[in-house]
């Protein structure tokens, strides 16, 4: 009788400890990867990080965060391409397709009515995903996806006005849009400064998106 009970307790403990171990392990792994985000400067860095988050998402299929970060890494590949003024390659499209699937999965994992903060973050990456499509082929896709990419920035800001990343993306857009088309580098600077301000006021839940500082500074450095 007692023996059985002990066995039962031991079994429960085993499961709990395994679960707890894994959970904390997962959190630890996520934290390690998230910490690497700010130093991801090259396409290869982003690809490796994207792989890492994709693996984490495979092991935690219910959590939107690893999908979100994987999508972000794959979208950032496009932004790095753009900043370096390189021509897009075939692989860019594949990263973009991957990004699209991942961000859509992330979206499907949240409660879009109640999780406004999460939704706003996802909209930000969706904007990046559509922007990347334009980088791939500005002549063909500019017309097709330009308005959608802009719309998601507006949506992200509307859903959560404190979203520093949405402000950053708006600043990015203002900076890189030619003056003749309504781009405004002065306004861009204001937006990027505002984004930095918002970032310093941010107190995100553990593992929640906090990126943006390095991105803002990269543009501000160009002034």
């Amino acid at each position: 009788m007692k023996k059985t009970r002990i066995k039962l307790i031991a079994g429960t403990m085993l499961i709990c400890s395994a679960m707890f171990g894994q959970e904390s392990n997962y959190t630890k792994q996520m934290m390690t990867e998230i910490a690497k985000l700010d130093s991801a400067k090259t396409i290869n860095d982003c690809q490796v990080l994207g792989n890492d988050f994709a693996r984490l998402s495979g092991a935690n299929k219910k959590d939107w965060l690893p999908f979100y970060y994987a999508a972000f890494c794959n979208a950032k590949i496009g932004f790095i391409h753009f900043a370096r003024n390189e021509k897009a390659s075939d692989k860019m499209e594949l990263f973009n397709e991957l990004c699209e699937t991942q961000i859509n999965t992330a979206l499907s994992l949240i409660d879009t009515v109640n999780q406004k903060k999460e939704l706003s973050e996802i909209y930000g990456v969706m904007s990046m995903m559509y922007r990347t499509k334009i980088f791939i082929s500005p002549m063909t896709n500019g017309k097709k996806y330009g308005p959608t990419a802009n719309l998601y920035i507006v949506k992200a800001k509307m859903t959560d006005s404190t979203n520093a990343r949405a402000t950053y993306l708006d600043g990015w857009l203002k900076y890189y849009t030619p003056k003749l088309w309504g781009g405004d580098q002065k306004k861009a600077k204001l937006l990027l400064d505002k984004a930095l301000q918002q970032l310093s006021n941010e107190h995100p839940k553990p593992l929640y998106p906090h990126w943006g500082k390095a991105e803002c500074e990269e543009i501000l450095k160009l002034y």
Binding site: K2, Q47, K87, L180, W181
Partner: protein, 759 residues
């Protein structure tokens, strides 16, 4: 008891932490090059890593026993393998395969170039086509920068692989585009009726095309019109030559759109500033009003209607070929109305239907006059001057109705079948005579597309046609296949038989050109009705390879022409011919930063015996060597799009063919070859917003272009006098063509669209 519990839990925990198995190895592709940054991991866990730049990986896992190892890298198929992680694994060599689906489906591409929004990498896009410098707003002209076409500058149309201009047909949403261009004017290329921006899909076939299409025995240009626009917009634009205004409205539910565009073109002012060789006493003047209505009838249904009404008036005076102190005047004036209605809908899960209905009406009057030095009409009784005062009116009605059913069987088989009906009635009024050519023709077709594997696709089809004009029928088989290698290279093969009803107008004008008149039209018409289809048999093989942003294609073909029409001694189908050649195409978006370019080379050897050719001759619209280079650069920060196109072609043959009055047979009295053809076209488009402050920002384009920048002399052939003593070169109206214009667009950012539309 307590002790043992602790013991157990500690030992389990310890086990949990310490039991890590290490796994290491290398990931290679099929040709044993290392694959860097591939993700290697144990299925269902986060245990794994990415390969380094040498393809090597090493990681540890706590998973035990039989596990699945996954390898994933963009552009490759996902790799899985059973492993046992009870003991460390080292030196794994994993070979991963290129993902065929990332290369897209195997699309058979023998003889064809396709440009649509879905194309990837180095493939053509509609924008690539329409921004090609010097296309004058005509897709067919832009396609002259692709292999297989001849540089014919004195006439509109596509002259494909030894075929005449009327042997390449154009189709819009499945049905025949009866007249792509304004009616021909001697020596002057005429603009297209339809804007190139009406189309989202352009498929140019220089042979071996699908059984769904008929009539063009040398080539086909298959166009797919755009669906709903992204948003409402309006445009206004002007230049010394053209004025344009239009709007496009998208309803709030985004399911329906309509629009009207108007265009007025007149070269009068332009020819005052830049002298033109023929003395234009009228125009050239073109007016077009077009309208469209498009509605999404369901999730899968789309109905589109387009109507184009055009008026043209061109009058010009040239020195008479037959006399140094006389002149000839030519005037062409008329209207053309073209409507096309198309509807597509998914009938059931695996069925789809495409309907198309086209109507075309045209009425064109051609007036020829003989003038004296003071431009007064004169009539002289002797030949050939007695034939130079005349007037012809051609009135045409054309209807085409087509139905195509598609049945999808699984993912790999598609069967298409259907039928079409065509009615055409052409009324030629020449002097007192009135000739009506009426044809009711029907066709049925079936085609099966089989994707036999991710490497192999086969297309088998057949088409049967009947024409009431000749009371004849034919059956045309078509077969094509594609095999793709792992390195993304692909071999395409096509065979097909293509029939065409000889065109009365072509034969008629050929006779007029040589004899001045048709003495007995009744007899001529009877002879015409005894004719049969002309035909061509195509054999095509090509190899294509697309890697990243580069595309290479080499294609070889042989074509046999049969039953071509001869005009001597009476109208008959005794003509034959052949064409064979090799073509190269190279497109590259990668080598030069921000520059997209393509190079083509076309080798053509062709001869035909047709119309009045006394024997097998190289046709006047062909030359052995043609090359072109197209360069595009988009300066994103400056908002300037720069396009250049350079063309080279060896000389074309010309003949003085006349009837020997003794034998009654045509004879070549003189022949030669024109000088080589050279031309560079450049266009620059600057895009800006002129009223930035306004709430509805505009998108405006300043467009500038020069055709034949260096003013190279271009001779396309010669016109001979009736006695053969005088020949006059057919050349450009002016050495260079200039264009400058401003187009202001409100609403939609159709920046790229308008670059060349209004040229």
């Amino acid at each position: 008891m307590r002790f043992s519990f602790f013991f157990i839990s500690i030992s389990i925990f310890g086990l949990h932490l310490s039991a890590q198995t290490s796994i290491s190895g290398i990931v290679l592709d099929k040709s044993h090059h290392p694959v860097s940054y591939a993700s290697v991991y144990i299925d269902g866990t986060a245990d794994g890593t990415s390969t380094d730049s040498l393809g090597q990986f090493k990681f540890t896992t706590s998973a035990k026993g039989r596990q699945v190892l996954n390898v994933f890298c963009v552009g490759f198929e996902k790799y899985t393998r059973q492993i046992n992680t009870d003991s460390p694994i080292t030196g794994l060599t994993i070979e991963i395969q290129v993902d065929q689906t990332s290369l897209g489906e195997v699309v058979i591409s023998a003889g064809s170039f396709e440009a649509n929004d879905k194309t990837k990498g180095a493939n053509m896009t509609p924008i690539d086509v329409v921004t090609t410098a010097g296309n004058n707003g005509d897709i067919a002209n832009a396609l002259k920068s692709l292999p297989g076409t001849q540089q014919i500058g004195e006439q509109e149309g596509l002259f494909v692989r030894g075929g005449a201009g009327d042997e390449t047909k154009q189709y819009v949403d499945g049905t025949v585009l009866k007249s792509p261009n304004f009616p021909s004017v001697p020596g002057l290329m005429q603009p297209a009726y339809l804007s190139p921006f009406l189309f989202k899909g352009i498929n140019f076939s220089s042979g071996g095309y699908s059984a769904l299409y008929g009539d063009g025995m040398s080539g086909a240009l298959i166009l797919e019109s755009v669906d709903l626009p992204d948003q409402s917009s309006s445009i206004i634009g002007g230049s010394p030559i053209v004025g344009t205004a239009g709007f496009q409205h998208l309803t709030d539910n985004k399911k329906c759109s309509y629009g009207i565009n108007t265009r007025y073109v007149n070269y009068n002012a332009y020819s005052q500033v830049i002298p033109q060789k023929p003395d234009f006493f009228k125009g050239p003047e073109y007016i077009t009003v077009d309208g469209n209505f498009r509605i999404k009838t369901s999730n899968t249904g789309m109905l589109k209607f387009y109507v184009n009404t055009s008026y043209n008036n061109t009058g010009m005076i040239n020195p008479a070929v037959d006399s140094s102190n006389l002149k000839t005047s030519f005037q062409s004036q008329g209207i053309n109305i073209y409507d096309v209605l198309s509807y597509r809908e998914a009938l059931a899960e695996t069925w789809k239907v495409d309907l198309g209905l086209t109507f075309n009406y045209s009425n064109e009057q051609y007036t020829n006059k003989l003038l004296n030095e003071n431009n007064e009409q004169v009539s002289l009784p002797e030949f050939p001057f007695n034939t130079l005062n005349n007037s012809t009116t051609v009135q045409s009605d054309f209807v085409n109705f087509k139905t195509v059913f598609s049945k999808y069987i699984g993912n790999n088989v598609t069967i298409r079948f259907g039928g079409e009906y065509k009615y055409s009635s052409d009324n030629y009024k020449y002097g007192d005579s009135n000739t009506v050519i009426t044809d009711n023709s029907t066709a049925g077709f079936i085609e099966g597309n089989f994707k036999l594997s991710s490497h192999l696709a086969v297309n088998v089809g057949a088409r049967v046609e009947n024409t009431s004009l000749f009371n004849r029928s034919n059956a045309a088989p078509r077969v094509s296949l594609a095999y793709r290698f792992d390195n993304a290279g692909q071999i395409n093969i096509a065979y097909g038989k293509f029939y065409q009803v000889p065109e009365y107008g072509t034969i008629y004008s050929s006779i007029i050109q040589n004899e001045g008149v048709i003495t007995n039209t009744g007899n001529f018409l009877n002879q015409f009705k005894y004719l049969n289809y002309s035909s061509a048999t195509h054999y095509i093989i090509n190899y294509t390879k697309k890697v990243n942003e580069r595309f290479f294609r080499v294609e070889g073909y042989y074509k046999q022409y049969d039953d071509l029409v001869r005009t001597y001694p009476y109208l008959n189908n005794g003509g034959t011919g052949y064409a064979r050649g090799v073509e190269l195409f190279w497109k590259d978006k990668k080598t030069f930063k921000n520059i997209d370019y393509w190079i083509t080379y076309t080798y053509l050897e062709t001869k035909r015996e047709y119309l009045d050719y006394p024997s097998l001759l190289q046709p006047i619209f062909s030359t052995p060597h043609t090359a072109s280079l197209v360069v595009k650069r988009y300066f994103e920060k400056l908002n300037i799009s720069f396009n250049a196109a350079y063309y080279f072609a060896t000389g074309r043959p010309y003949y003085d063919i006349r009837t020997n009055s003794a034998s009654g047979q045509p004879e070549i009295y003189a022949q030669g070859s024109t000088i080589a053809y050279n031309g560079l076209n450049v266009s620059i488009a600057y895009m800006a917003s002129l009223f930035k402050k306004k709430r509805n920002k505009d998108f405006s384009i300043i467009f500038f272009s020069i055709n034949n920048v260096f003013g190279n002399e271009q001779v396309f052939g010669y016109n001979y006098s009736y006695d053969g003593l005088n020949k006059v070169p057919i050349t450009l109206p002016a050495p260079r063509t200039f264009f400058i214009g401003l187009f202001i667009n409100f609403g939609l950012n159709r920046t790229d669209d308008f670059i060349n539309q209004n040229l």
